[in-house]
């Protein structure tokens, strides 16, 4: 006898949060360690505040941090990392420098030692700086031929105006002008322990891991300076920004709306509203423009948090010939949720998804490490997830309707389209005023 109806869910298990051991070292670095013994590895995330650091210098610094110390070359460092099954890499955004790594858990001391060695003694050799800035310039050239990158740049310019967030990636010529001396100065001024957080997650004893971090990193000292960013400006709606990309076979459609930070009482509600709108596959917008109309492959809408502000970003790559119809449906779905309360079933489904994926995110070493590190960057700890889960659980249809009206109203959205302007401008102009700009 085959089963023809959906089985019920088993009993819901309470969200269990991993216990975190935390200590702030004498040098001002906060270290957190979490045991998850699923595989004999560990994950490392070091987050250092990096607001207002020069974009081009930051980018080259991330590519040359492991390029040499007094005692070792690039190749020496890479080989030493490999020998414990390890790897380290660095990245920067307008808020922070992030060093990420992992290794066999037997290599914890070695990896921390190598990290300490570059943090206290990276030399940024001329030869390596010259190689890496050229490679970075090449990658920027490639990025600038990617529609998604160009659309994001245009959207950031549009919504952030004069704010430092308006420009988040350097151009090739700026990167090619970076010299070793500037990197050493930036490192001395900003790659400092105070205000930073180190997260270690894996098959380790948390107390011992923190002790190992303290032994390795005690010599990393210096005066960090606190650098603040102004709050992000309110997003101004205004005309659609059309960026011309002649011959493009798709248009990159982007909309941005102001959002609230994780700690705001409306955040859980906005997360639910965003899910119902377009934040997961089973959302109104995805079911409409993909599963009903076939305009696009992977539309998504997400809440992005930065230290100075949060944003809802709506993104879809749509066939050139349906650019305006796709925008129409997007505005329609935003407007429908902002003006008519969602169904109870829609809320239940979105809530289950938010709670379930939270558990999935905590179920791997890398997931835990990433979440703990990101939260730390916003002054939060993983136990905040319990508060968040309780807010998700308590949300009502009326609550979601209220935040949708407040945050997801299409009248508040900034809209950017990157595409073949000669083909799409006229039909887009039937929906809203259009301003054409060069990329």
């Amino acid at each position: 006898m085959s089963i023809t109806t959906l089985p019920d869910l088993g009993p819901v298990r309470e969200l269990t949060l991993p216990s975190t051991v935390e200590r702030t070292l004498a040098n001002g670095l906060t270290v957190m360690a979490i045991r998850r013994s699923s595989v004999p590895l560990f994950e490392l995330r070091l987050r250092v505040p990096f607001a207002r650091a020069d974009l081009a210098q930051s980018a080259v610094l991330t590519q040359t941090l492991f390029s040499g110390t007094a005692d070792r070359t690039t190749v020496d460092i890479a080989a030493a990392l490999q020998s414990v099954g390890g790897g380290l890499s660095a990245g920067a955004d307008p808020d922070r420098l992030l060093v990420s790594g992992n290794a066999l858990v037997t290599g914890l001391d070695e990896l921390l030692g190598l990290l300490a060695e570059v943090l206290t003694g990276a030399t940024y050799p001329d030869e390596e700086v010259s190689t890496e800035r050229s490679r970075l310039a090449d990658r920027i050239r490639v990025a600038n031929s990617q529609p998604s990158h160009l659309a994001r740049k245009a959207l950031l310019r549009r919504i952030y105006g004069e704010h430092p967030y308006a420009l988040q990636t350097p151009e090739a010529d700026a990167v090619l002008a970076v010299e070793s001396a500037g990197l050493n100065e930036l490192h001395a001024a900003r790659v400092q322990p105070a205000g930073g957080t180190l997260v270690l997650v894996g098959d380790l004893d948390p107390e011992e891991a923190i002790a190992a971090a303290e032994r390795a990193l005690a010599g990393w000292t210096g005066d960090g300076k606190e650098v603040d960013l102004p709050a992000v400006p309110e997003i101004g709606p205004g005309p659609l920004t059309l960026v011309d990309r002649p011959g493009s076979v798709q248009s990159s459609l982007r909309m941005a709306l102001g959002a609230v930070p994780r700690t705001h009482p409306d955040h859980a509600l906005l997360q639910l509203a965003n899910l119902i709108f377009g934040g997961y596959f089973s959302s109104r917008w995805v079911e409409n423009i993909r599963e009903d109309k076939g305009y696009t492959y992977g539309p998504h809408s997400m809440i992005e948090h930065s230290v100075a502000g949060s944003t809802v970003t709506v993104a879809a790559e749509v066939a050139t010939e349906v650019t305006a119809p796709a925008l129409l449906e997007t505005v329609y779905e935003l407007g429908r949720l902002a003006t008519v309360p969602p169904g109870e079933d829609e809320l239940t489904q979105a809530r289950q998804y938010a709670l379930g994926t939270l558990q999935l995110g905590l179920s791997t070493q890398a997931g835990l490490a990433g979440l703990a590190s990101t939260y730390a960057g916003f002054g939060l700890r993983l136990d905040y997830l319990a508060t968040h889960a309780a807010r998700l659980a308590a949300a009502t249809v009326d609550d979601v309707a209220r935040v949708a009206a407040e945050y997801l109203a299409p009248s508040r959205a900034a809209t950017v389209v990157l595409g073949d302007a000669a083909v799409v401008e006229k039909s887009l102009g039937t929906l809203m005023p259009v301003t054409r700009v060069q990329p």
Binding site: I3, G87, A319, L362, Q365
Partner: protein, 431 residues
Amino acid sequence: MLPVIRHPVERFTLPNGLRVVLTPDPSAPVVGVAVVYDVGIRSEPQGRTGFAHLFEHLMFQGSTNLEKLAHFRHVQGSGGTFNGSTHFDYTDYYESLPANALERALFLEADRMRGPRLTEENLRNQVDVVKEEIRVNVLNRPYGGFPWLKLPPVMFDTYPNAHDGYGSFEDLESATVDDAADFFDKYYAVDNAVLAVAGDFTVETARALVERHFSDVPARRAPQRPDFAEPDLTSERRESYVDRLAPLPAVASAWRVPNPITDLEGYLPFVVLAEVLTDGDASRLVERLVLRDRAVTSVGGYIGFMGEPFAVRDPTAMLLQAHLPPGGDVDKVLRTIDEENARIASDGLAPGELARTQARMATHLLRDTDSVLGRALQMAVLEVQRGAPELLAELPRLLSEVTEEQVTAAAATLVPERRATVEVIAEGGNN
């Protein structure tokens, strides 16, 4: 000593032919469910390029007891995530969920194993969606399909191995509901499938649930998988094409490797060699081409056109690919690669070079098994292709046992006469 991790593995076959792998792990309250069918790009019919992938989309469009959209809503409404993907030799469907949704996922997979709802409307809708997928990933971006779609037609001569696995728009638009029904009947037979479940459950409970939901899926026999073998190259092949969006020249070369399934011992040294050549700044080709000569801006090496060494059948290849600075000299890069391979073949490896490469490979392998879904997917494919899901736990050890002599012997086979190369002519100069 390399660490190992061993999750218990329980295998059984239902009377209808469904092979099942269960691997319990109570360390987090989540489960991963994977169903893998032993059919992929190589099996799609002539004149129907891209059909295996299009059909994968149709498996999400409703099934015996489920309307269109129901699958997505039930998985996500249970707190889970889902997807599917089409490869050269297999197609997978999978979910990650909180553990209390295990039975739902089994119901959903069993329901579509009985049969998808194939309608003209859904087919036309998904042809449109797939065309947008191809535009995003291939047509509207630089290096689209490089090299996984561009190199097989240079290296191979027969349709199954050489054709465009994403498909031409013409073929996709010609696809019919009858084609889809035939494809399902032929290749989505129960005995062509493996179900793997990893995560927080007991074997007894999971086995009972699997039997409950899958036992009465009607048995059908899949056809014998054809032999897709082709002879090795005996002279160099080289082609190029213009990419009007790409700002940098690029090149990829491939050499045939031993049969991954029937000659694992002969195959593993190539898996290690690819990492010796390209893993990190201390690897041979990065040190030489990127750091010393500055002849390339990036270089990578891997096995199989999709880079999954333990999820591909014969014939397959080891690939090396590089992006060059503007105006870079592709011939010189190829000559340097030959030189470095010959150097390994004649001089062997440096002290510690092999061991450190193997240590890093162990980390990558273990890390890929940390999520319950990663474990379920990999075990399902290993069961389908080798009848050996437990191989997943053995791989770090097996790779650590590859010797320097084996690696140098592998390097000696990477000669220009056996090489297929495709070069990207960059015509997308910007700034």
